[in-house]
Point group: none
Chain length 131, copies 4
């Protein structure tokens, strides 16, 4: 899996890292039960601090994506990622809301918007070269 970080972005590094790993799982580059690099080795590989990696891992653990064994390291949740519940769907809507609002203002119609979503979905199925 390729981790792609933008150090100039205002998006925190740990958030970007979280998103990259989720993308890797979505693309099935890492499967349930598979190991992720240790905090230290990933930090060294990327060239960031170990605490930053740790913060990303803690959030992924919190959200059910990974399990952290103190000894055996970090693995993608072997039971799979928890399916979307009402809380997730509401959160998703809340996040999409301003994107839809601005798109409407800028004359992007619903079909175009949905087409963009569909293509993103397909890019993950095809191996996710959109990243």
């Amino acid at each position: 899996m390729l981790i792609n970080l933008d150090f100039e972005s205002s998006e925190p590094i740990y958030t970007q890292l979280v998103q990259e790993i989720i993308a890797g799982i979505a693309k099935k580059e890492i499967l349930p039960g598979e190991r992720l690099p240790s905090v230290r080795s990933l930090a060294a590989d990327i060239g960031i601090n170990l605490h930053t990696v740790n913060k990303a891992y803690q959030q992924l653990k919190q959200d059910g994506f990974i399990l952290i064994h103190r000894q055996r390291g970090v693995v993608v949740n072997p039971d799979g990622i928890p399916a979307a519940d009402e809380v997730y769907m509401n959160q998703l809507k809340k996040t999409l809301h301003p994107l839809v609002a601005e798109s409407i203002c800028r004359a992007v119609d619903a079909d175009t918007f949905m087409q963009v979503c569909k293509e993103l979905y397909q890019s993950f199925e095809r191996g996710g070269k959109d990243e």
Copy 2:
């Protein structure tokens, strides 16, 4: 237009304000050429800092949503909001990307995702009671 702010959110107040105003424009509650309250009066109405409102207005101006005249005050861009260009669409894709990734992991399929988007679009057309 109703401005709805969540002071407990981690989203900065000025960002929420920007989004609320954009939502108001999307719902056609405020039309091109119409005036927005002055920085001072809006700040007083909502009970937030002058700088916060100013920051929001500056960003809206930057993005082509409003014009700020020294004398005539703040108006929604009379020429309409600049239509989406390639830069906007790329930015949109980049923002949607992690949402799609997590949704895939959580077993939300493309049709469900697009249905959520469609409903959001419809909520704006109907007057945006989803806010």
Copy 3:
């Protein structure tokens, strides 16, 4: 509220801090909506690192005890603490299980055990001098 930490304990400082603050809420020394000290001032008062206080606050936030406003600081959840749900009760049972097991081995009968619990409850109602 008095924060009482044991730096010799194997219990992490941030965990002790979490427990002390929960005890303060249980004793009604801090009420819903009331402010807690800022991360920095509490760290300075106790003589520990700001990150340690932050970790405690983050956990309290996670568990619904407090809200963290970036500007206005930290307040006890004005809506009150989320009531126990099934998850909490199961967690509680799981934590009590080994305590009951060892107590049985050591000839502490159910009535004595429950009496200890009752007295602890009463100590909180009386102002919690048991701490």
Copy 4:
């Protein structure tokens, strides 16, 4: 006796092992004077490290649950487990304190809390299927 370990728990394995054995004694699945498996065989059975089992046994010995003979192996204390003394009761109170505090905050009243304890006691008498 069934040893049930959760390798995904943040609770150290040796602590879980200690608790499982104490639970077995509480349920009278192993009686005073009865032998426990050797360090080696238990480690092999469960599939964990020798040191982990050893650490658990050392703690059980320390707390008076078992005796470790060079030749005769490991036996549950034939004189029975040392009864609770003041030290134990104080330790128990200290452990229960944060559980009671959080339960109060979460609107679990004393009767409910004690009922949970009572049911745990009963589960041990009935053979401890709650484990």
